[in-house]
């Protein structure tokens, strides 16, 4: 029987799937809220929104908000405290990044280790920061008076709205790329459910074994 290694710790897997659910609810209800007063010259099709009307979408948005932010908070605290972020996302050198971006652009998606390449590291650090930014700008939209100091960071209420929208857009872009890569390399899906994956020689060398 092939040797298995621990690819994703339990708390990472719990975070990932709760976050997927929370993001789904936040984004689809957020689209419905956006439709009530669009920032730009387009609306989202109602069929792909959650909430059925503005009031319902707001209920979903501000209920899912708690799941999103508590889950993200626990993940960040554990990620920092356990050294998970340091191990998985660092080091990240510009040189390795250029090399791996070049590989990725030539669709050289080598998957011979469970360690992240530089592009993946950048993506996961980036998406975490974008989620934090989207949350903070959301606070400034939700409580523009109580959190007006945060609002100042974004140039006031209307600025915070734009940043909140931009954060949502980046998260959606991430999801598209993320899902496309899972389709290209389907063997990455199961480890996010069971935690375990095939042991590559590189992982065994590193004593990565569960």
């Amino acid at each position: 029987m092939a040797q298995k290694v621990l690819v994703h710790r339990l708390y990472v897997r719990i975070f990932h799937w709760l976050n997927a659910i929370a993001m789904f609810m936040m984004i689809t209800s957020g689209w419905r809220i956006y439709n009530a007063s669009p920032l730009f010259d387009f609306s989202f099709p109602d069929a792909i929104t959650l909430g059925d009307w503005l009031g319902g979408a707001l209920q979903w948005h501000f209920a899912a908000m708690w799941l999103f932010v508590i889950n993200l908070g626990v993940y960040i605290v554990l990620g920092l405290a356990t050294g998970h972020f340091r191990r998985k996302f660092l080091p990240l050198s510009p040189r390795a990044l250029v090399h791996d971006v070049n590989d990725a652009l030539h669709l050289k998606l080598a998957h011979d280790s469970h360690d992240y390449n530089a592009v993946q590291k950048l993506f996961y650090i980036g998406i975490t920061l974008v989620m934090i930014l989207t949350f903070i700008s959301g606070l400034a939209v939700w409580k523009s008076v109580q959190f007006q100091l945060i609002g100042h960071l974004f140039g006031g209420y209307e600025g915070a709205r734009l940043v909140h929208f931009a954060g949502m857009s980046l998260i959606c872009a991430f999801v598209v790329v993320h899902l496309a890569l899972v389709l290209l390399v389907p063997s990455t899906l199961l480890p996010m459910i069971t935690g375990k994956g095939k042991a590559f020689p590189k992982d065994v060398e590193k004593n990565h074994v569960a």
């Binding site: 659910i21 789904f24 609810m25 689809t28 419905r32 809220i33 956006y34 009530a36 007063s37 920032l39 109602d46 069929a47 792909i48 929104t49 959650l50 909430g51 059925d52 009307w53 503005l54 009031g55 319902g56 979408a57 707001l58 209920q59 979903w60 501000f62 209920a63 708690w66 939209v141 939700w142 409580k143 523009s144 008076v145 109580q146 007006q148 006031g156 209420y157 209307e158 709205r161």
Partner: protein, 257 residues
């Protein structure tokens, strides 16, 4: 006529949005206050959720929880930002669930603000009597629940001063308002006593025009637009949850900003 009003009430609150007041919204929600898009929820759960009562119950509980969270976040000493005359939004949007020509026309002659509930001095107030009280004005940002915002200038009597003057029970939970249209609204006492919460009698130093709520609106810059009722005819203080026009259809009651 009555049927027409009832139908209007059931339209999407999109009509609140000034830019789309002329756009007739094609979408209709199945029932008032239902928060579920069955299509989206089917996507979410992978099953057909025809009976959505359970999810709606959870959403209602969360909305009540959010009322508490917002009350805890509310700082009575935190003032909303104020702006300069030059920053006032021109033209300031009319917004309601009906069009501007359907706005109530209240005549000053014979108008009196009725007081009831946990208030010692319940004598009704004429506009002249209210105008004789010390006035304050503010230039603040009105933020609609839909997301758009506009800066306006309102002047009038600080609601907290008024409540103290008429001997309202300041330990009561709610201050409620009845309006000349079928709108009604209520707020928490802490927000009612906030220094920037005013009984607005003027708009840009002129008598409040019909389109902005003559004879009076309550201007609360620490709350979203739907918590700022217009065309007010009666005010009361109570410990029994009074709800509100949109809240009874599913909007969050606290509605703070």
């Amino acid at each position: 006529m009555w049927r027409k009003i009832m139908l209007l009430k059931r339209k999407e609150p999109k009509l609140l949005l000034p830019r789309t007041t002329e756009v007739i919204s094609l979408e209709r929600r199945l029932f008032m206050g239902k928060a579920l898009s069955l299509g989206a929820l089917t996507m979410l759960t992978g099953c057909n959720v025809a009976d959505d009562g359970q999810a709606q119950k959870i959403l209602d509980v969360m909305s009540k929880w959010n009322d508490k969270a917002q009350a805890a976040l509310f700082n009575p000493n935190r003032m909303a930002l104020t702006y300069s005359e030059a920053e006032i939004t021109e033209p300031f949007p009319f917004n309601a669930y009906y069009s501007e020509d359907q706005a109530p026309e209240v005549k000053e002659e014979g108008y009196k603000l009725e007081l009831s509930g946990l208030i010692d001095k319940k004598d009704p107030w004429t506009l002249d009597k209210l105008r004789a009280l010390p006035q304050e004005s503010q230039i603040t940002r009105h933020i609609c629940v839909e997301g758009w915002s506009a800066i306006g200038k309102w002047g009038g009597v600080p609601l907290g001063n008024f409540l103290r003057m008429v001997g309202a029970d300041l330990t009561a939970k709610y201050v409620g308002f009845k309006c000349a249209d079928d709108y009604y609204q209520s707020i928490d006492m802490a927000s009612a006593l906030h220094p920037q919460t005013i009984i607005a009698l003027t708009w840009r130093d002129q008598v409040l025009p019909r389109k902005y709520g003559f004879p009076m609106k309550v201007r609360i810059p620490t709350k979203l637009g739907y918590k700022n009722p217009k065309y007010i005819t009666a005010m009361y203080v109570t410990n029994d949850y009074p709800g509100g026009y949109w809240e009874d259809q599913g909007y969050n009651w606290y509605g703070g900003s």
